[in-house]
């Protein structure tokens, strides 16, 4: 099965990368941009057929390794 894990800076945590991208977008003329936060997406393929078990497993992966939960939040989506 396929599962996606999105990892991103927690709300309230300073995100220098997102800030730099926001100002670059603004310089390029995208004046409507108010804020950008930059994160990562992991596309993971796993053996299994129970979406709930796959989701639970992916959550564990995020907590153990993919995200640093001091500064990052994450969400998990089984995609097929």
């Amino acid at each position: 099965m396929k599962v996606e894990v999105r990892v991103y800076p927690k709300a309230g945590v300073l995100d220098p990368q997102g800030k730099a991208i926001a100002s670059a977008l603004s310089r390029l003329g995208h004046r409507a941009v108010r804020d950008v936060r930059a994160g990562k997406v992991f596309f993971i393929e796993v053996d299994g057929s129970d979406p709930r078990a796959v989701e639970a497993d992916a959550r564990k992966m995020a907590e153990e390794l993919l995200a640093n939960t001091v500064i990052e939040g994450f969400d998990v989506r089984v995609t097929g």
Binding site: V13, L14, P16, Q17, A20, L65, N68, V70, I71
Partner: protein, 231 residues
């Protein structure tokens, strides 16, 4: 007195630390490959600078799963002296041996510069020979040195005297312009609650003899020798 110097794939300051321990201090030292679990009778363990595992995912994130880290954690729990320098500090954070996390520098650039730090805690095995409140100059070289932690953790670090070094100007004033990376409250180095595990971003190993133009870092290693020899 024996130093154990952990070598991850991608460590690049291990030989500098070995040189300081053996050639400059006349101590014993052994490299400990990250796949090993035997700390070889080390009295102090150093996690050196570099780019362990290429800093993939996050700096220090993969290194913490190396077999050696379980031994380092057990050694630390028993009160063993552990020093993480730069990437070694990042590994200690990811491993949970020290609290908090590193973010990319606020300027989004790698910073390579001499920085001044005020000694805030002279009670650790690695800072005993620096007078508290004195200003020490050391080089930094890093991309992710922007230390952060939840406000309550920062408050606890301050309250418990666990901020070991703070970026400052040459007169010892903690001002934002002297902060090379945006680290919260100017934090350059911290220790654990027992004080035996210390991490800092600047490199004492790169300023430990006169020929390098600065020998301020040698006292960190000498502190360990005098602290551990009298145990």
């Amino acid at each position: 007195m024996k130093f154990g110097i952990v070598v991850f794939p991608g460590s690049n300051c291990d030989a500098d630390c070995y040189h300081v321990a053996t050639d400059l201090l006349g101590c014993e030292a052994d490299y400990i490959w990250h796949q090993e679990t035997d700390l070889k009778g080390a009295d102090a363990v150093i996690l050196p600078g570099g780019f362990a595992y290429g800093d993939y995912l996050r700096a220090g994130a993969l290194a913490r799963f190396s077999p050696v880290m379980e031994s380092v954690a057990a050694f630390a729990r028993e009160g063993g002296a552990v020093l993480g320098i730069c990437n070694g500090f990042q590994v200690l954070l990811e491993a949970g041996l020290l609290p908090g996390a590193m973010q990319i520098n606020r300027g989004l650039r790698y910073v390579c510069a001499d920085v001044h730090m005020r000694v805030e805690n002279d009670g650790t095995p690695f800072t005993a020979l620096y007078p508290k409140g004195s200003v020490v100059t050391m080089p930094v070289g890093h991309m992710e040195g922007n230390y952060t932690a939840p406000p309550e953790v920062l408050d606890a670090l301050e309250r418990e005297g666990r901020v070991v070094f703070r970026y400052c100007d040459r007169d010892g004033k903690v001002v934002d312009s002297a902060n090379p990376n945006g680290a919260a409250r100017g934090i350059a180095g911290i220790c654990n609650a027992q004080g035996n595990v210390v991490g800092l971003m600047p490199h004492p190993d790169r300023c430990s003899e006169g020929i390098l133009g600065n020998a301020a870092g040698i006292k960190m290693f000498e502190s360990a020798v005098s602290a551990l020899a009298t145990r």
